[in-house]
Symmetry: C2
Subunit: 241 residues, 2 copies
DNA sequence: TCAAGTTGTCTATGATAATAGACAACTTGA
DNA sequence: TCAAGTTGTCTATTATCATAGACAACTTGA
């Protein structure tokens, strides 16, 4: 008996679009709590379940995050992450007005498998230092990365990184003034349990997997790494031309 | 098992929007025949009934017209009809690149009722000439109007109009060089049977009903009329400021 | 600790959307 | 006149949309 408009656009979509507009034009700031589901339902003259459908759609796109018992919050804007040959996490995050942090999780010894040996120009089985780190913008984890360095060229690199919290500074400590990206491969996957915990990310969420190797000015490979970015927190910008 | 996208926008709406865009950007010209329902269904990968839903929505807005056994045709664009104090049907239609025509349906004698007497500044029961006319743009009927004039001021107006097919020319014949709109009232109604036939409009369609009185430069009322516009063929433009 | 307020989940119902097939009614051109 | 092609109408089925109510699970602040 309700006599719908039948505009061809589902109500939940209209609500979702309305909220998204509110986020886009700043009526709902990042990190802020949205009105309760009941309140939203009343303002849009709609059932609470319809609001939940709208919020679920926004949550799936990473725009909002629901916290049971507390409320629904506007997620931080996605970090724009340009992919250049000079890619410095600290510079990119800093340019976005955020405070970059690198936090060491674990540093350990390893030996080169075929892939890593090829990337670093080492022999299979060569001694490596493996650094597990999480990178944050302000207090939000952006990515976890596993970095491999030659243990012969960078002795004690794990301890150095623990002090400087930055790959750029670590390399500078060993006399590397500048470096750049030699190769970058991007794929995507579902986050695994350990990464999920480190990224503070629910299980089942997608991550962008970036395999990259950095070389010095003479094109000698320095480090190779595999980073897993929380897909909902970054967007990679490919700069063409 | 089809695993829909569930974008929140109904398929029929997406199809309707696509066709409307095609009309707007000229891929489908006015008067032209659209592809058959089956063909549209194939191009959009959609059921024929979904296409019919889309076409029905467009037909309801007057953008297309379906002819059984023949096809679905793009309706003429709605005539933009600015509402100014100087409102000349012939000028408006001509400005739109169409050929204005006025076709007399019937001219007869009448006497003033209270309303018309007030509008024309006459006494109730004063003799009138009533002109029923249909106005066309090219060959499309736009509106039918009933016009009342004082029989004393405009003797034999019916025959004059039959010759000149224009209210402006009719008034000029009686020495009225210029006139303008004194009052305009707009309502809407469902077309009645006789108007439907005159407008070549299906029963049940809406008409815009305009009651207007034109006055000369001394604000003396000249004519008063009630026009019924096929709502799907015109849009009135109110010019603010 | 507790009450109030929040999100999450379950069941249920009716309306709408989309698909499918069949056939009627009509137009067009050969 | 006829065959092919068109729109119109009917029945039927399945999935999504939207509403409704109840209660669980959880957080927050007093």
């Amino acid at each position: 008996m309700s006599m719908q408009e039948s505009s061809g656009v589902a109500l939940w979509r209209q609500v979702a679009d309305g909220i998204e507009r509110g986020i886009a034009d700043g009526r709902f700031a990042a990190g802020e709590k949205l009105p309760g589901e009941m309140e939203i339902a009343e303002t849009y003259r709609v059932n609470r379940h319809t609001v939940r459908r709208a919020l679920a759609a926004l949550a799936e796109r990473g725009l909002v995050r629901a916290e049971r018992g507390s409320g629904t919050y506007v997620e931080a804007q996605r970090l724009a992450y340009p992919l250049r040959s000079r890619t410095r996490f600290s510079e990119i995050v800093g340019a976005g007005g955020h405070e970059p942090r690198g936090q060491l999780i674990e540093a350990s010894s390893d030996i080169a498998n075929r892939e890593i040996a090829r990337e670093l120009g080492l022999k299979i089985g060569a001694p490596l230092i493996r650094i597990e780190a999480v990178r944050l913008a302000d207090r939000t984890p952006i990515c976890v990365s596993t970095t491999w360095l030659s243990a012969e060229r960078f002795p004690d690199a794990g301890n150095v990184f623990a002090n400087v919290h930055s790959m750029t500074k670590l390399l500078g400590h060993y006399g590397v003034k500048d470096y750049h990206r030699a190769s970058t491969r991007i794929t995507a996957a579902i986050v695994d349990a350990t990464d999920a915990a480190r990224l503070d990310l629910p299980l089942g969420r997608p991550v962008l997997v970036v395999d990259a190797t950095d070389v010095d000015m003479l094109d000698q490979p320095l480090v190779t790494k595999r980073s897993r970015f929380a897909a909902e927190r970054v967007e990679f910008l490919v700069e063409n031309g």
